[in-house]
């Protein structure tokens, strides 16, 4: 005869009450699992969309480059980085940056020039698909430029507009060239919208009199690897460069998404587990009062108060355990359904705010964590909830309890 067995039998003395409580707790657990996977899915996808756009999961720069963006601070040892990326199947693009002036008719604007390879940008990143007008660059788009939409507006530039570009080359010479607008980007990110002029790397080299200077390498494994893993891989192989994750590059977004998910999960989990554990507590308090006399008897024949606490808590644990199994089965099935099919939240509007891009289809992301956390949380709160009824049972005076009439 074990304590568990006694608790188990006690649980089923009032089977209706126990069943109702188990159902309630199971539903709470199911809802928590679903909600948790949905939030993780939403935030995860938003982060993914954001890194996928242009930044990537990890970027590599020459040390100090991001502080002054000097054209002379370019990356060495790019071959090593290429090799690591290839070996680990990580998408990689190389970008050159330089500053200059664009003028169109009477209007002019300071601009950041991006020298890029359109094929790899299209393959590994998303921003090239966000073209509002015209087309993105192709391998052969010499003397063509793609502009951020706000920059285009301030230059009053349209497709085909001829732009005069002035820059100071790396050798100190003055470069000036004519380019033609081939595409205008939609909203991508503020710095791009306001100030990016995207051209081919070949054009960049001519314009700035450089020879293959690379200022930025953006890496994107498309979620296959954690940003930190990529960072580790790269840091191990490429010395003397700054390897930073998107969290370090975009701390506001990292903190915002982190806070959002933590806040929502905590609030929601708290509300539901507290509600459910109140149910557990209620059941146990009722059954404790029903059994006052029995607690009196077992105290009289030698049970310590602690044993009674254990027995009542064990009932809470058994009840929650059963509810966890049922809740997990229900919650997991629905969460998996939502992972596969998702919820359409597209409507009409743009689903981006604060630099975070949300997906039109909201999918759950089921993980061990999204099941484990609600179950463990519920277990713990149930045990806490059983302390009150258990202490009622443990504190009774045996003599009074034996004569107690419910």
């Amino acid at each position: 005869m074990k304590l568990v067995k006694i608790s188990w039998r006690n649980l089923w003395r009032n089977s209706t009450r126990t069943n109702v409580t188990i159902t309630a707790v199971a539903l709470c657990i199911a809802i928590l699992i679903i909600f948790q996977s949905l939030i993780i899915g939403l935030i995860g996808k938003a982060v993914h969309n954001t890194t996928n756009l242009v930044v990537g999961e990890v970027q590599i720069h020459a040390i100090g480059y991001l502080d002054d963006r000097s054209i002379y601070k370019s990356l060495k040892n790019v071959d090593k980085i290429r090799a690591v990326a290839k070996e680990n199947n990580i998408g990689m693009v190389e970008r050159s940056y330089g500053f200059g002036l664009i003028s169109s008719g009477t209007k002019s604007a300071g601009t950041q020039f991006w020298g890029i390879d359109p094929e790899s940008e299209l393959k590994y990143f998303d921003f090239a698909n966000h073209i509002d007008e015209g087309n993105f660059l192709t391998k052969t788009s010499l003397k063509k430029v793609v502009l951020g939409n706000k920059l285009a507006r301030s230059l009053a530039a349209e497709l085909g507009t001829e732009l005069v570009i002035f820059v100071q080359g790396a050798d100190g010479s003055l470069g000036n060239e004519l380019f033609y607008v081939t595409g205008i980007l939609g909203n991508v990110a503020d710095n791009i919208d306001r100030g990016a002029a995207i051209i081919l790397r070949d054009d960049f080299d001519i314009l700035f009199s450089t020879n293959n200077l690379i200022h930025e390498i953006a890496l994107n494994s498309n979620g296959k690897l954690e940003a930190e893993e990529i960072q580790k891989l790269m840091s191990a192989k490429a010395a003397g460069v700054a390897v930073e994750t998107w969290k370090e590059l975009m701390p506001t977004i990292a903190i915002m998404t982190e806070k959002m998910s933590v806040f929502m999960l905590t609030m929601f989990s708290l509300i539901f587990t507290i509600a459910a554990s109140l149910g557990v507590m209620n059941t146990l308090v009722m059954s404790t009062y029903d059994r006052m006399k029995e607690f009196g008897i077992i105290r009289a024949i030698g049970a310590t108060p602690w044993l009674i606490i254990r027995q009542v808590s064990l009932e809470a644990i058994l009840l929650t355990f059963l509810a966890s199994i049922i809740g997990t089965v229900i919650g997991l099935s629905i969460a998996i359904y939502l992972q596969v099919y998702g919820i359409d939240i597209s409507g009409k509007g743009n689903l981006a705010f604060g630099g975070i891009v949300f997906d039109p289809i909201w999918r759950a992301s089921v993980s061990l964590k999204s099941v484990f956390l609600p179950v463990v949380l519920m277990m713990l709160t149930s045990i806490v909830a059983s302390i009150y009824p258990a202490s009622i049972a443990a504190r009774i005076k045996p003599v009074e309890a034996i004569h107690y009439k419910p």
């Binding site: 005869m1 006694i6 039998r9 006690n10 003395r13 006399k293 029995e294 008897i297 077992i298 105290r299 009289a300 024949i301 030698g302 049970a303 310590t304 108060p305 602690w306 044993l307 005076k397 045996p398 003599v399 034996i402």
Partner: protein
């Protein structure tokens, strides 16, 4: 007789319930000794304090003043937990209303205290089955209390109290709810245990059948011991009762 070992002793035990207007003086200064091998019966009118006294001797309730000693340990100085452990190891309780645990069958009820004591399952089985045989409970092991008659339930309750071979068994009106034949057999059973194992018994009762078995009779009135006398068996002077 004075060579018998003293199990418990009470010194000027007072027990009051309530306070002010509703103050009830249940025990008003009781001093007594319980010796090994006693088979004593407490009698007295309803409300004279019999149950209260049994509860206090068993450490179920605390005195208002005075002291109870059990194996030379003063109950006043012991925690609730320590009292629980003394009950578990050394004292058996039998109540008027059987008071078996409804979720346990007869066997499990009898086994319960052995389980608390940490006795190994095989040893528990051996003890309980042996006792059940002796008490005519064999065959009823798997029955739940609701499936047993009052007499059978009381038998199981006695089995539960004595299976641990306690020093002292406290029995509060245990024959009140069973017929006289059953009462007779329950008492015979306990008398045998008293004789063979020198288990000490203290009864409270109104039942003449119980008194017939007593070695010592304690008359309680208004919370004090009115008289205490050795019974027929011991003195031969109690025959006309």
């Amino acid at each position: 007789m004075s060579s018998k070992r003293e199990i418990a002793s009470l010194h000027k035990v007072v027990k009051n319930y309530g306070e002010g207007k509703v103050l009830t003086k249940a025990l008003r200064g009781i001093s007594m000794k319980i010796l090994e091998g006693d088979f004593s019966v407490m009698m007295g009118p309803s409300g004279c304090g019999k149950s209260t006294l049994l509860n206090i001797i068993g450490g179920l309730d605390r005195t208002t003043s005075g002291e109870v000693k059990f194996n030379d340990e003063n109950f006043n100085t012991l925690s609730n937990k320590a009292l629980s452990l003394i009950r578990r190891q050394h004292i058996g309780f039998v109540f008027q209303n059987y008071n078996l645990l409804p979720v346990l069958n007869a066997y499990e009820n009898a086994e319960y205290v052995l389980m608390l004591q940490g006795v190994a399952p095989a040893k528990r089985r051996e003890k309980v089955m042996h006792l059940f045989q002796e008490m005519g409970l064999d065959g009823l092991e798997n029955r739940y209390p609701r499936e047993l008659s009052g007499g059978q339930q009381q038998r199981v309750a006695i089995a539960r109290a004595v299976v641990t071979e306690p020093q002292l068994v406290l029995a509060d009106e245990i024959t009140a709810n069973v017929d006289s034949e059953t009462a007779q057999s329950l008492l015979e059973l306990m008398a045998t245990l008293n004789k063979n194992n020198s288990t000490t018994f203290l009864f409270s009762t109104h039942d003449p059948a119980v008194i017939k078995f007593a070695k010592k009779i304690i008359i309680l009135k208004d919370g004090i011991i009115h008289s205490e006398k050795a019974s027929i068996e011991e003195t031969g002077q109690f025959a006309h009762r």
